[in-house]
Amino acid sequence: MNNPVLLIIIPLLLAFVSVIIKKAGKWILLLGVLINTVLAFFITTGETIIGGFLPPAGINLVVTQFTLVGVILINSLMLLTIIMSIDLVGKYSVILLTALAGINGMLLTGDLFNLFIFMEITVIAAYILSAQAKKYHHTITYLIIGSVGSTFYLLGIILLYHLTGSLNMADVAAKLPLLTTKELLVPILLIFIGIGVEVKLLPVSGWVKGVYAHANRLIAPLFASIIAGTALFVFGKLFVSVLPLSDTLTMLILVMSVMTFVFGEFAAFKQKQVKEILLFSSIGQAGLITALFISGLVYAAVILIISNVVSKLIMFTIAGAFTEKYQTDNYHSLSGVFVHNKITGIAFTIAALSMTGIPLLIGFYAKLNILIGFFHAGNYVLPVIVLLMTIVEGAYIIKLLLALWAPGKEGQVSLESFAVEKKQLLSVKNTAICLIVALVLIVGGTLIDTTSKIVTNGQPLLGDESPYFIISQSKGGE
């Protein structure tokens, strides 16, 4: 009965139903997200065939441990986002439900063309949601770049179809190694660009700033953690298990990812708006995650995605609340905002610290695995870049935190009276959720063995055999 197709169908069905019953849109949305989250915890790994036709011809949904992690993570985050910002949903309940269906489809599907369709569903929902900010020129930019990207992706998979005669991922993956590098160059490149738009890799991430910077408390976490996280999982699925990369191509994509990482972090360092800091750091982290996938460090990448996506959820929610309550998210104008909202501040701080990779938070565990993985692969350059970027990241995060926690001019002892006007940032419910999610970051980073057991379930993710950190190693020869 735990058919993963339900994860796609139920939100879709509810979306159609909520068009008929207009009044109850909000509650139907809540119901759909809730059902999905519960179902996500009950699906098991395996293959689900749709329509009763065997895979290369029919479409199948493939649940591996990797997708399982993604599905559970993304659905739970969706639930949290919706619960936190249910007051902002308004007319968008249909769109959100459809987006959820699209996201689950992207994660689950085992067919390249089907992936294209679900990607389109998600992206179109994203276009509509981004229009919420009423900055239509940014939405149009997103729409145009996104359409070019999806056109490229379509062209890429058609070329793959031409070369292999199949659209099923497993089938394609089995047939591709027989082909030459030259033949595969164009399709892989096209697919890379197509996915890259959603993953926010550097040259094609021009839309991100306009869209993220104006998004509200509901839309911003949705984009930054849910859709971005999904795109990263899809990237991993495609580039680790489906498409074989030649050495040159690996090198080039790796260089692009690392450039994204470095430039993203540098650009974040320069910003003054909270949301812009966060969005550029998202771009940077996306670059690092793709670099990890390309290098085959799937476990480290998954942990990093978890850390990043969860912290971005908290941080963007709170950043959205800044613009909502103070009409600005420039951190100089928000100095001392957490003086009046200490618990919100604590949640934000934990999320920020986890993003930076501070011990005992899950971000640190991700960092450890990255280092171990890279060293194991004999790569000594990327760890250096990762650590240098951690310093940059830490620098802007600490600057942000200091500004938000400690009001007062330079040379003055910081006092409560210097802080901005007192306003309640988040409702009690939302504060509690943020804090609980932040605690998850702590627990996940402390109980490392449990985390790794939950994430891998004893099997390597996407065939990634590279070592990762577990406690027994640290105990040495005891």
Partner: protein, 114 residues
Amino acid sequence: MIRLASLLLLLIGLYGVLTTKNVIKMIISINIMELGVNIFIISVGFITNGVAPNLTEHIDSSLSNFVDPLPQALVLTSIVIGLGITSLGLAFARKMNKKYGTYDLTMIGGMKDE
């Protein structure tokens, strides 16, 4: 030959997006790109002297020169998606024009966001 033409259409569309400033024109350019890709998809399934993949009184499945039916099915989907994106893009363009009084993206891009 048709493949070459369709790829050229794709590139013309790309050129259009690269050079035009008007949003409507950009959306048209994207349509041209999609058109190019759609024609390309059809051309991928093309078989010299092929017959349509439609069983009739005289045609049964033992024939070997059926045109590949899958790209045709795919192109149907692709066209519909193109329609969806176009309509959405035009709606955005209209809202943008209502708000800023222009279809020129660069003129808004130069404005301060706040």
